[in-house]
Symmetry: D2
Subunit: 442 residues, 4 copies
C-alpha cells in the first residue's frame, strides 16, 4: 500500500481527536497510513492524553491508520506528505499577557488582533521559518497546512520571507459565515455560492447566490434587521444601516475595527468578571483534558464544539482530501493573491475562494475590492507586511511602526509603551529582538 | 493688451489682500488685467472691507490691475482665465459645530479630519459641482484653482463625479514641510529636492536631496531627535524611533491618526479653555477685519501670517504663474494619479510632485508607497471615495459607512450618533440628504 | 414541468444535429423543453433539412424536447434561457473573398486571422450588437453562448461596446489541445489538468499536470521531438528548439504568426490546386446537406466530425449544462479578464480556465504571461480593440490602423489596398462604413 | 578646483570631437576638469587621430579641460563622475554581417531592428555587464550615459540583470522628431511641449502643445498630408489615413514594422547598388577620419552632421549638464518605467519624458498607451526581455524564441536558419553561447 503520512505539529492540541475522526471518515477517499503527533517537552502530558484518546478512537473504528507520537520534529517530518501546524508559542500564559497588557492601555487585547496579534506573530514567525527549513530538508514535496494563528501573517511570512511555496493557511471563518447565511435563509448550505474576499480574520462575503440567483441584498437585509450572526466579539450586532451601506457581510472579527469601543468595553468587563477570553479558554482546555482522561471516552467530546476553533479540523481534512484527490472543489483559503483581488499586489497573501487541485489552490478572480471594504483590508495588509518584516529582522523601529499603524492602537507613544512592556514579558520567545533592542524600550 | 481675468470665489476672505499683493509682485511674468472678487450676500460686509484694502494696495503700487466685486457669480465667471475658490459653506458657525459635536463623542473634532471634514465635504461638494457646471457655460477654458477644504476631496468629487477636468487643489503643507526641512538642515530651500507623495493633508516627504545628495536619513534623524516640525496639532512631537522606522517625514496632520489620543486630549483641553480652533480662528478673523478697516493700511498686515493658511496665496500665485507661462517647474498639487503612485488606482486624486506646464500639471512617477505609508493612505482614499459618493447621492447608508470607516471614528454606533446629530444641525446646507434621510436618523 | 428554452441563431447550420444529440444525451441533468432553430431567408432550405433530420433524431430517441423553426428571431428569443449563435454573415461567398483577396497581396487569407478575420468581425459585430439589444427586450435573463467567429472579438465587442454582460464565447481549441496532450502522454484526458491562458485562437497550455504532477516539460519535449499536434494550418511542425524555448504549448493557429511564410505558401498552393479552405469547406457542406436529405439518416453523420468545428457542440452542451446545474467544473472560455492574466487590463476579453457556476464563469487566476507569450497576445488584443472600435464606429482611418497593426499585414500601403478592396466587395454587409468611407478607398 | 572627470568608452569614435566641443560650450555651467578617451587595441589608430583633433579644438578654445587617452579601461574609470559609452563590438565588419545575412532570408537587415539588432545585443550586453562591474569597483557614484545601440536593450539588461542602477540610455530620436514638428509648424522648438512615450527607437509623440495649446491633430494632419518627416528608412511616407487613425506621430523607425515590405525592398535595392547602410557608413567613416588627419582642422567638421547620429553628442552633453546642475528640465531618455506608462510593468525600461534632477531622471506619468500604439510596444518589449535573458544566459532555445517572436521574422524555421548563421559568423564575440550551442545550429 502506498504510504500517506500526515504529521501534526502541536499534536497535543485538544483538537487532534477531531482530526483523527476526520481522517477515519475520509479513509476511502484518502487512505492515511501514518499519523504523527509532534509536540514539545512542555506539552508532553497533554500529548499523552491526546494519544490515548486517539488510539481508542482509531481502535473503535477498526482503522488501519498507524499513530505515532514524538518530541523529535525532524524524525516526524521525514517523507511526510502533509504537515499540519496548530501550535501556540508560549502556551496560554503568553496569550494571557497578549490580552491583558493592551487592556492596561485602553486598547483591545486579543490574540488575533491588535498588539496581542502582533506579538503572537513575533513569537511564531521565526518558528515557522525554522520549520519550513526543516521541511526543505526532510519532506520537500509536502504541503504545509497551517491553522496556527495569526494564520494569514504566518503564510505572508513564509511566502515572502522564505523560499517555501507549499503553505496554505486555513480558518473556519468562511465556513461559519456560510453556515450563518444558510441558517438566515433557511436553506441547505450546499445550495449557496458565496464569493469571499479579504484577509484572514478580515474576510467579507461580497456576493451570495442561492441556486445560482444573486440574493446578496436579501441576505444583508435579513442579517441587518434580525442581527443574525453568531459569535460577535462585542455584545451587539452591526448597525443595520451600516451593513446595508457596506453591501457585503463582514466576518464578525471586523467588529474589532468597526465596533472598537463596544468590544473594548466588553473585554474590560470580562477581564474584571472572571477573566479575559484566554482565561476562559484555559479553563475550557483544562476541562477538556479532564474529560480526555476518561478511558471510556471513544470520540471527540461535545465540549470540543464549544471552543472557538470548531470546524478547523473539518476544514483541514477537507482541504487535504481535495489536494490529495485533485478534487477541484472551491474552498476559501490563504494563498498568494496572484491577481485575485486586483487592488492588492500579486505577491501578498489573501483569503479568497480557490479551486483546490493536487497542484495546490488556484485563486478565483474576484476583481477589485470596493472602497467600502478596500480601506481596512489595505490598512491591515500594510500593517501585516511591516509586522512580518519586523518579526524577521527584529528591528525595534519597524516593530514600533507596525504597532502604531495598527488601527487599534491610538498613538505612537501608547504604541511604544505597549511594545516595550510586551517585549519585556515575552523576551524568552523573541531571540530576534536582541537584548539591546529590548533594553532600548526601557 | 491681452485680457487676463482672474476670479476669486469667496473673495471676501481675509486672505485676498495677500493674493492681490501676489499678483502685483508677479506682474511682469503674468500681467493680470482683471481681478474679480465674488462673494455671497452674507459676506457682503467683509467683501467691502477687502475690496477697499485691495484698492489701496493696488493704488499704492501704481498697478493697472482692474478690481471688480460682485455677488453675481455667473457674471464674474464670464471668460475668466483662472477661477480661485476659497469659500466656506456655512461660515464659521458650521465649523464650530464640526469641531464641537464630535468632541461630545470622545472623537476628534476638526474641519479637515474625521466627522468634521466629512460634513465640510457634504456641504461643499454640491456647491463645487454647481460651480463647474457654470464654468462649463461661462469659461470652459479656465483653470479652477481650489484652496477651499477638504481640498483633496473636492478635487476627487469634481474629477470623478463631473465632466470638468481643469481643477487643481493646492495646500501650503508641502511648502511648509520643505521650509521646516530647510530650517533643520540650515540651508536655503532652493538647494533641496523633496519627493512628496500622499493625499491632501496626508502627505509624506519620502526622499530629501540636498544639492542632489540623498540626505533623507539625516533629516529624519534630526527631526526625530530634535522634534523640529512646527505646527503639530497635538502638544508633542513624534516618537523618535517611530519616525526612524517610518523612513519618511509625515505632514503634521498625520498626528490626527498616529497621535489620536494626544490630539484629542489637546482639543478637549482647548475646548474647555477658551474654545476650539474654530473659535480662536473666528476671533482672529474679527481682529483681522478690524485692522482692515484702518484706511491707512496699505498692505496685507502681519497678523495675516499668523493664521493657518499662511502660504496659500503664495502657492496659488506660483501655480497660476507657472500655468500661464508654461514654466515647467515642480510643484506639489492635487491631481489625478495617472500612475504616479503605483499602488493607487489611476483615476483617484493624489497630492504629488508635478511639472506645471501650460497644459496643466503632469505628475512625476514616485513608485509604490512602502507598506509603512500605504495603509493609512489607502484607508483614507477609500474613505474619501465613499464620502464623495455619499455627498453626491445623499445616500444615508453610504454616509454612515463613510463615517464609520474613517479611522478617527470608533464604531458604527458612535458613527451613527454623530452622523445624525451633524445631519440635523447642518440640514440647511445639505439639500442632497433629503428630509426623510435626516428623519431616519431620529 | 419547468420550461427550459434554448434558441440557436443560425439554426440551419450543419452542426445543429450534433447539438440536438447533445441535449438528448444530457436530458437527465438538463431537461430542455423547447429548442428553437432560427435562420434567415437565405438559409431557409438548409434550415428545413436540418429540421427534418433533427426531428428524426428526436423521434428515434423518444425525446420530449419540442422543436421549433422560424425566420422570426424576436419571436424565438422570447423568454429564452440560452441563446446560441453560430451564424455566418455573408455565407460562404463572403468567406471565399476573405480568403482570396489577401492572397493577391501575398498575405495570409483566413477567416479567423489577418484581413479575413478583420472583415468577418466588421460584418458580424453589428449583428451581434443588434442581437443583444433584442435579448435585453425579450430575454434579459438569458445567457448568450457564442460560437460564431471571430469568437473572442465578438465577446470583446459585446462586453465593451454594449450593456449586455451575459455572453460567453467558446472554442473547441482548448479541448482539442487537451486531447492531443492526452494522446501524447497515452493517458485518459481526465487525469490531466491543463492551465490555459491567452486569447481565442491564440491560446497556450502554460502548465500540464498529470495526476497532480507537473509534466509540462515532458509534454513539450515529446511534442517538440515527435511533432504530435494535429490540425496545423501549415504543412510542418514547430521547430523543436523553439517549442522548448517557449516553455508552453501554443495552439496550432499560432502558426499563422510564427510560421507565416510556411502557412502562406501552403495556402497559395491550395488556392492554385482546388481552392482555398473556404472552397473545400463549401464542398464539404454541400456533401453534408446531401447526406442530410437521406430520410433514413437518424443521427449526426460521421462526415460532420471531419469539419473544423468538431467538438463545438460538445463544448456548448457542456457549458450550458454547467451553467444550468451550477456544476462548478473548470472549462476554458472567453470572458472578461478581471485579473486572471495580470499583464492584461481587467476589462478585456481573454480565454482562460474558469469555474462554471450558475452565476456564470469565474476566471481562475493565472498570473502574468511570461514575455515569450506576452508579446503576441498583447499585440493581438490591441489589434482586436482597435478593430472592434472601427467595427462599431465605421471609422475608415481606424479600420486602416487595425488592418496595418495586424501582425500578418506587411505595411500601411498594402493594408490600405486590401482594406479598400474588401470594403468594396463586402459593402452590402457593412452599413456602418458608409458610402463616403468606401468611396474614400477609391 | 573640484575635479569633474568624464570618461568615454569608445573614445576613438568619430563623434568624440563633437563631445569635446559640447563640453567647452557648457564649461560655465559644468566645468569639466578631465576628459578620458578609452578605446581598444583595434581602435588605437582612430583614437590617436581623434585625440589630436580634440587637442587642437581644446587649444584653440583656450580650454583648461585636460585630455587623456588610454587602452586601460579600469585606470580610466577610477573616480569618474560620468562614463559615456559609444562603442561598437565587432566594429563595422560585424554590422555588415548583421545587415547582409538577414537579407539573404528576405528579412530586414538593420543594426537596431530585427535579427541584426538581436546579435548586436548578444555581442554588446556581456560587455556592458562587465563594464558596470568595473564601475562598481572604481567609480560607484558615477552615472553611466549610454549611447551605444541597441540603447534601450542595454539599459534593460543592466537594470534587470545587474545591480547597477545609474544608467541612462539616450537617443537623438525624440529631439529630431521635435525639430521636425517645429519645422512643420514653422515655429521655434522651445515653444513646443511634446509628450513622448514608447521604447528606444520605437517612440511616439502622443501629444504636441504649442504655447500650451494642444495642436496634436493639426500636426498629424500636416505631417500626413505633406509627408514632412525626414530620415525615413523606406522611400516613402506614411499613408495619411493611417497616421490620422493612429492619432500619434511615430518615430521613423516604426517603418521597419509598419512598412516592412517597402523598407525591405529599399534595403535590397541598396544592397545591390553600392551596398547596405553599413557599407555607406563605413565609407563615410573613412572619409571622416581622412579629414581628421588634416592638422589644420580645428573643429568637428560639417561632414559629421551628415551621419545618422547627429545630435547624439548634443543630447549627451545636455543630459550630463542637467544631472550635474540639478537643472530639472525635461528630457526624453531611457529609464525604468516606474508607472510612467501604466500598461507596462514597473521595472522595464521605457523611453519617456523625465525631469532631470541631480538624483537622476524622474519619469513623468503618461498614462496607458492607447491600443493603437500598445500592441507593437508590448510585442517589442517582450521580445527585448527574452533577448536580454538569452544574451545573459547564452541559452540557444531562448535565443531562437527571441528571434522568432521578433515581428520582422517570418517563422521559427527561418528564424533558426538566421540564428545559426549569425551565431557562426559572430562566434568570436559570443562567449556566452558556448561551442556546443553554436554546434547545435549546424
Amino acid at each position: 500500500m502506498k504510504k500517506l503520512k500526515i504529521v501534526t505539529i502541536g499534536g497535543g492540541s485538544g483538537y487532534t481527536p477531531e482530526l483523527v475522526e476526520g481522517f477515519i471518515k475520509r479513509y476511502l477517499e484518502m487512505p492515511v497510513t501514518e499519523l504523527w503527533l509532534v509536540d514539545v517537552e512542555e506539552g508532553k502530558e497533554k500529548l499523552a492524553l491526546v494519544e490515548q484518546l486517539s488510539r481508542r478512537i482509531l481502535e473503535k473504528a477498526g482503522s488501519s491508520i498507524q499513530l505515532f507520537t514524538t518530541l523529535n520534529r525532524q524524525e516526524a517530518l521525514k517523507d511526510a506528505d502533509f504537515v499540519l501546524t496548530q501550535f501556540r508559542i508560549g502556551q496560554m500564559e503568553a496569550r494571557i499577557q497578549d490580552e491583558n497588557i493592551p487592556l492596561k492601555y485602553e486598547t483591545i487585547g486579543q490574540e488575533t488582533n491588535g498588539p496581542g496579534e502582533l506579538f503572537k506573530a513575533f513569537r511564531t514567525i521565526p518558528v515557522m521559518l525554522d520549520l519550513v527549513k526543516e521541511m526543505e530538508a526532510h519532506c520537500p514535496e509536502a504541503w504545509l497546512i497551517n491553522f496556527a494563528n495569526p494564520a494569514g501573517m504566518l503564510s505572508e511570512a513564509v511566502l515572502n520571507h522564505s523560499k517555501w511555496t507549499k503553505i496554505i493557511s486555513i480558518c473556519n471563518g468562511p465556513l461559519s459565515i456560510e453556515n450563518d447565511i444558510a441558517r438566515v435563509l433557511g436553506v441547505d448550505r450546499r445550495r449557496l455560492y458565496v464569493e469571499f474576499a479579504g484577509l484572514n480574520h478580515l474576510i467579507f462575503a461580497k456576493k451570495v447566490c442561492l441556486d445560482g440567483k444573486d440574493v446578496t441584498e436579501q441576505v444583508i437585509n435579513s442579517v441587518a434587521d434580525e442581527g443574525a450572526f453568531v459569535d460577535n466579539p462585542g455584545s451587539s450586532d452591526w448597525q443595520p444601516d451600516f451593513l446595508k451601506g457596506l453591501k457585503a457581510l463582514p466576518m464578525s472579527y471586523l467588529q474589532y475595527y468597526w465596533k472598537t469601543n463596544e468590544v473594548l468595553a466588553s473585554e474590560q468587563y470580562a477581564a474584571s468578571h472572571g477573566g479575559s477570553r484566554a482565561v476562559v479558554a484555559q479553563k475550557m482546555d483544562q476541562e477538556l483534558f479532564e474529560v480526555y482522561r476518561d478511558q471510556g471516552l471513544m470520540a471527540a467530546p461535545e465540549l470540543l464544539r464549544k471552543r472557538g476553533g470548531a470546524g478547523y479540523s473539518e476544514a483541514a481534512c477537507d482541504l487535504i482530501t481535495s489536494l490529495y484527490t485533485d478534487k477541484r472543489d472551491i474552498q476559501t483559503v490563504n494563498v498568494r493573491n496572484n491577481g485575485a483581488i486586483t487592488n492588492l499586489a500579486s505577491d501578498v497573501v489573501v483569503e479568497v475562494n480557490c479551486v483546490i487541485t493536487s497542484q495546490g489552490p488556484v485563486p478565483l478572480t474576484t476583481g477589485p475590492l470596493p472602497p467600502e471594504l478596500n480601506g481596512i483590508i489595505q490598512a491591515m495588509k500594510s500593517y501585516e507586511q511591516v509586522a512580518c518584516e519586523a518579526a524577521v529582522t527584529g528591528d525595534y523601529n519597524q516593530a514600533l511602526v507596525a504597532m502604531t499603524i495598527n488601527p487599534l492602537v491610538s498613538s505612537d507613544s501608547q504604541g511604544k509603551a505597549m511594545l516595550d512592556e510586551l517585549l519585556e514579558v515575552h523576551q524568552a520567545f523573541l531571540p530576534q529582538f536582541n537584548q539591546s533592542h529590548i533594553k532600548k524600550g526601557d
